[in-house]
Symmetry: D2
């Protein structure tokens, strides 16, 4: 264009394809329940500047690929399925990069008379498992994650020693409720990981570190959670955590002639603290491209 206005970074695709895949192993079924988003990057300038769609793989076509490739390859894990999508789309004409993300919803078998039912399921847990696969030419990046993992400690949390200035009114405390809803992402360096086993290991490690850390600050707890994952999992290079401090305020019951020895709390909505941190291996290169467009990941 002659006016010096140009197209910058761009990408497009189909968001939130709700895919449920049933594996029928005889009478015993299993489920994979995903919400898949695709995004392509490449030579799509003419669509923007001239409305020329000759390079634009329709988002409807991208959606179709999600369902067809699920039939052809199954859905053993969100990471594995996104790699299947990436393998297809990275080789299409005009595509130079790709972004795929998935939310994965857990299900557990309904217990009937002490046995797990073959084909009846209830949604399990509250957290959502997440995954992102990105490609840039031949390079491939894989993140796993989780969101909405809500945890709470009813003791074993302090907050003291912070600076006091004109705007500081908060009292120090050596015993408070600490509660958060963990959003975490971690970057893999081994593209051949057993994704489901790895997810369970990271999830358990995050929970254990949260529980075992006597917390002097939510920052410290977050760093402990990320560090524990890196110590346990050699093929993970980096963990990014974003944790709201879900405040639980001890209610002042003295107007009613009552004490309140850390028993009765008001769980507040807003505002909330928001603490975000990256924990990484010093000797592994950072890969900013792995983190482009990742929702909830601190840059």
């Amino acid at each position: 264009m002659t006016d010096g206005i140009v197209l910058g970074a761009n990408q497009y695709g189909k968001a939130e394809c709700r895919l449920v895949h049933v594996t029928r192993d005889g009478d015993r079924h299993s489920l994979a329940d995903l919400n898949v988003t695709t995004q392509l990057r490449g030579d799509f300038a003419a669509a923007h500047t001239e409305g020329d769609n000759s390079h634009v793989h329709a988002t409807d076509t991208q959606k179709n690929s999600v369902y067809a490739l699920a039939r052809e390859h199954g859905v053993a894990s969100p990471e594995g399925f996104l790699l299947t999508l990436a393998e297809h789309w990275r080789h299409q004409p005009w595509v130079t990069g790709t972004f795929f993300s998935a939310e994965h919803y857990g299900w557990e078998r309904v217990p009937v008379a002490g046995r797990e039912h073959d084909h009846s399921f209830a949604r399990a847990g509250r957290e959502v498992r997440t995954a992102v696969v990105q490609t840039y030419g031949d390079a491939t990046h894989i993140l796993s994650g989780l969101t909405d993992l809500v945890v709470l400690k009813s003791t074993g949390s302090e907050f003291r020693g912070f600076p006091r200035d004109r705007f500081t009114t908060l009292a120090e405390t050596d015993d408070r409720i600490l509660a958060t809803s963990v959003t975490a992402w971690w970057r893999h360096t081994d593209l051949g990981t057993d994704w489901n086993a790895s997810y369970e290991e990271v999830r358990a490690t995050l929970l254990e570190a949260f529980a075992d850390t006597h917390s002097l600050a939510l920052q410290q707890t977050i760093f402990a959670m990320g560090s524990a994952v890196l110590r346990r999992c050699p093929a993970i290079a980096e963990v990014r955590l974003s944790c709201p401090n879900k405040h639980h305020f001890l209610v002042d019951l003295t107007p009613f002639g009552l004490d309140n020895p850390n028993q009765v709390y008001f769980a507040a909505d807003r505002p909330y603290g928001l603490i975000q941190a990256t924990v990484r291996r010093e000797d592994v290169s950072e890969e900013p491209q792995a983190w482009a467009s990742v929702p909830g990941a601190l840059e």
Copy 2:
């Protein structure tokens, strides 16, 4: 008023008091996490017609009662706590009736090295346990319930034999996914029930009936679920269920040269079927007052 315009039914109170109560049994803590709503009915006409607040127990006062009574009486169960609130408010001046409701959020202990942690918890399950207590003078009504209990059968569900008219295009099917998010309410006739044990029993019964019923219609499954509860629990008079039919559409993969033997589904958002039914004991009187203002309960 001289213009023939009068005040009809009315009620007011404080909605969504977020209460977390910690029981500290030595080092071993336990949690009750509730969202409590209060509503009073009575002689409040002058506030409406003249702005005379001399009878209006402030909603702030109602909120204070939630936190103070939690300290005085503990929170052993949502039903029990609402009964405590009712016992206080039904005796206040100008109050002739009360409505109290609670959502109860479950937590489970974080496992650390194979043991359950003393004071670290993660939000458990997806469904929300609910309760309503209403009083009308000396009468007391108690409902228990749950919402957002999401269940799915990957087979064992048909839908056939429905009428075909000008607007009917749906094909019959003898094998479909059946999925719903159960909202259920049940009415107790015994005010001295062990509320927590009863809840677990009803929840398990609903799940078992969902799993065990070969479904010819969601209506049939719902009736089976309600009936199973009544058969199991003699002190429950009535069950009301509201169940969206969360459609999972088999994706047509023939354009891509693929079959789809009930493996790949699109999980749709809207529209959805909505099936609501009451299952009750023929010989127990109906109590419409027990159901006034109850969210999600079919009248």
Copy 3:
């Protein structure tokens, strides 16, 4: 059944059919954007007790009727369109009653160079217009309503003279912010009303009454709003309002050496007051059937 367990009240249909109807009056287009829910009542017991669907008009068929009847009859107003649906469904076999509801989303024309564009629109306003039509045999009931009409007065609101008891800590105030999100329903006695004109008149009347009432209590404001509608609109028999008191707390800035003459407020989320009231004509019969299953309407 021999066990004394019977089917009680029940209904079913298709919820949340998202319908957009474009009227093309030459180059000048107009939009009707609705979210329609259908529910049928009637002789459907066999589906529940035996899985016999021979009377069950499929919810998919109900959905098809929404789109087909929109084509045949247009969508001049939500009330009018629901009446069209009712006219169709009340005459189907096994149907003895019907419930239809709609949310109606407003759009306004995009201004371009000072003129309203022929076929480009932006979503208008924040409130959602609502409607319910119910039939019971030959009887027809029509409600109109709105929800999410968020209003605020920065002065002209007091709250004083309320009773003080053990649990009362709230200070009296003669100048506070009053804010609410109005949910209102009103019942028509004239089935031939000009629905769109009536809606605009009621909406304007509610807003004027909110603005013009010097508020001594939210109860008083609500009653004033309902009364104003009844005084203005002779063909409306009854108004039901449900209004959260969206608390705006004056922030105590004295720790920072600052006064706060009603300027800086914290807008709280939860808990909130919840005030519900019915305003009706004394000489018009109440019609509880008109209000069955209506979301957000005080019974």
Copy 4:
């Protein structure tokens, strides 16, 4: 640490401080209604690695600064208020960078008898105005934006000429509904802009460009919208847009013996196309730091 695990990028603060500021110009009031988030970057490593809070300005202190600075400086615009916050926090010890964001909710005066009321307001419009201010040492970056601006064209939109491959089933169309919910951010190069006037100008320009562009692809419409802003506003360097393609599917009414000449549509929820693009001036340097942590902005 000796294990090679280190703290990477991190930031923290108070999220979603709900601030309502009333300006009382005699009897005539005006409102600023904001949701403010603060984040600090700097020398906070010891809090993470050792639980040493001596550098950690409490998030509660940050919250207090929001309300106190609102009293001291007023809230003339979201951008201006965030600059006030930045000016305070960038000079605090251990702080090397800051991030402030705000959502701004519009209100309009309630009309009473043809006049706008002095102190009664209704929430206006549906879109939310947004702003971000970031500092890195002495550098300051300002973004303005909006989200949830929902627009629709009932004609004047085609989608043709896209590639067809194994997974392509979409038919070409020369007349479809085009609807989206615009999220846009734009970067200012003039820190002394009249923020409110600028916002209105950009908003109007986005709407006009949407309306005036005969759309061959949503990509083209987006580029036209961003370009129009840059042409109109010399002090804006860059616009980033993220637009879901809110699909409206023409309903096939032929089974019911009806045609459907672009009149009756089903508005789908998911999946949706998601088109994101940056439009920028070729001769202005890119400033990736300005975009760090900005929600909904394509990197």
